[in-house]
């Protein structure tokens, strides 16, 4: 499904976010990425989602090099990859149903996307995707009426509606309280298991990684420190991974809503 060989990503300043990563993940595996902040987890997920072009080494997704594809094929490939983020990238004024249906934009022709904005074309599908999260009743509400936890579950419903073969989740539960975090992590794993999809998630909560995922990869300073089945990991491995940094440091606060400066309205324009 995914294979990386000697893969590296260097930024303009020469800093290496990823440095010679070798990795291969088989279909249906459920992998947790752990490691201190700045270890390269997000970069690795972006590379595997064909959103960031590596500066060195080989990458194969589904046996294809995404950066050798033409734009159309690359778009098709991305459509088979589902992504989750710490802050759900959903416009606040969008309705829940529209946010869920947006999961299939990669598969829909443009006319369908436009028609669905005027009248939602797959109400049943969206309802079914929301049902496991007790949100089916909120189908026609606006997203800014939901709590943060509910919004993250709408993002999850969008992902389930997309039914991707590969799910890449970047800190999907870091902004949630522990109970909710566990339930979202469980839902992601259950869905992947049921459909035989591959799941790769970066996590700050190490105990979730150990209890819910089948394989755990430890990253630090752009290199893989360990890559083992969850059952074979000991406390010593974890302590070595986080040595010298706070154990489960809080995720960097990043604010998706930059203050939007409203242009001044005046009578003589």
């Amino acid at each position: 499904m995914i294979s990386l060989a000697a893969l590296s990503v260097a930024y303009a300043g020469g800093r290496r976010a990823l440095d010679g990563v070798d990795l291969s993940i088989a279909p249906g595996e459920r992998v947790a990425l752990i490691g201190p902040s700045g270890a390269g987890k997000t970069t690795l997920l972006r590379v595997m989602g064909a959103n960031l072009r590596p500066t060195g080494g080989q990458l194969q997704l589904d046996g294809l090099d995404p950066w050798a594809l033409n734009a159309r094929q690359l778009q098709g490939l991305r459509g088979r990859v589902g992504k989750m983020y710490q802050a759900p990238p959903i416009p606040p004024r969008q309705r829940v149903i529209t946010a869920v249906l947006a999961g299939r934009l990669g598969q829909w022709p443009l006319w369908r996307a436009v028609a669905s904005l005027i009248y939602p074309l797959d109400i049943d599908g969206a309802r079914a995707a929301l049902a496991p999260f007790d949100l089916a009743e909120r189908l026609f509400d606006r997203c800014d009426q939901l709590s943060g936890g509910q919004l993250q579950r709408v993002a999850l419903a969008r992902l389930f509606y997309q039914q991707p073969q590969l799910v890449l989740a970047d800190e999907p539960v870091s902004a949630l309280d522990p109970t909710l975090a566990r339930s979202v992590a469980v839902a992601l794993n259950e869905d992947a298991k049921r459909r035989g999809a591959t799941l790769i998630a970066s996590l700050h909560a190490v105990e979730l990684a150990l209890s819910e995922f089948s394989r755990v990869i430890g990253l630090r300073e752009g290199r893989i420190v360990f890559d083992r089945p969850a059952a074979q990991l000991g406390v010593a491995d974890i302590e070595a991974l986080y040595a010298g940094v706070p154990y489960a440091s809080a995720p960097e606060a990043h604010n998706p809503d930059a203050p939007s400066a409203r242009p001044r309205l005046t009578r003589c324009a």
């Binding site: 459509g79 990859v81 983020y85 990238p89 934009l105 443009l110 996307a113 997309q162 998706p256």
Partner: protein, 258 residues
């Protein structure tokens, strides 16, 4: 506080006062107003005739027609400007490359800098006398104003939703419609309504250069010294702009705030 600031304030005040006196001298205003004072009696008669608006049914129905025409000019002109403003704001926010941005920004600046009344003198040549010329003139200037505001709204919109959809394989158009449009649409509507409130006032005036509506009637009434009719027309303009303020406020509450 340093003593520099008051001295600078003093210099500025002296400069401003000098500018005012130079202006009075330049325009020879005292003579002009004195001449006006000679006709002070005339002025009073003029105002007196204003105080008794013409309310004959025949004239009122003509005013009503003019008011509807003015409303049509302002509404259609603003709607055209909203469409054209969106079309120019997309490249002006840098979505179609640097060249598209430079070209569309230049066009927006040009459209915005030329006042409606100047546009109207040109559109009267292009479309003949009548409301269509006024509609076009309003649309041209307003496109420049709205296009710039719309582009700013696009630049300030959070990029994450659209980027996430693109990353999940969505096409560019669909990603914009689902990711960015919900964030900017309320602002676009609000700006459009705000411009409509201004344009109803402007539409009432464009008639002065032959572009239809209440303005044309007012121009004739004042040219022919029909003060009673002019008074009626001015009251009609005021009422019309109050009506549009109310309508636009209602639409704003329904579409933007809700």
């Amino acid at each position: 506080m340093s003593p520099v600031i008051p001295r600078r304030g003093l210099t500025l005040s002296v400069l401003v006062l000098a500018a005012v006196f130079a202006s009075v001298w330049r325009l020879d205003l005292i003579a002009a107003f004195a001449e006006g004072q000679d006709s002070l009696g005339e002025l009073f008669g003029f105002l007196q005739r204003f105080a008794a608006p013409d309310t004959s049914p025949a004239f009122l129905s003509k005013v009503g027609q003019g008011a509807i025409e003015t409303l049509a000019i302002s509404l259609i002109g603003t709607l055209l400007a909203v469409l054209a403003g969106v079309a120019l704001a997309l490249p002006a926010s840098g979505r179609f490359g640097r060249l598209g941005q430079i070209v569309s920004r230049f066009m927006l600046n040009l459209l915005r800098s030329v006042p409606e009344l100047v546009w109207a003198t040109l559109t009267v040549l292009a479309a003949g006398l009548g409301p269509f010329a006024g509609t076009l003139a309003l649309a041209l200037h307003t496109t420049g104003v709205l296009g710039r505001l719309y582009a700013e709204a696009l630049e300030n919109a959070p990029p994450a939703p659209e980027a996430a959809l693109r990353g999940a394989g969505s096409g560019a158009v669909a990603a914009f419609l689902y990711g960015t449009l919900p964030a900017v649409a309320p602002q676009w509507v609000a700006y459009g309504l705000y411009r409509w409130e201004m344009n109803i006032r402007m539409a009432a005036i464009l008639g002065f250069v032959g572009a239809g509506g209440l303005g044309a009637q007012l121009y004739y009434a004042l040219s022919l010294f029909h003060e009673a009719r002019a008074a009626t027309l001015i009251v009609a303009m005021l009422l019309l702009s109050l009506l549009v303020d109310a309508l636009s406020g209602w639409l704003r509450r329904r579409l933007v705030v809700a």
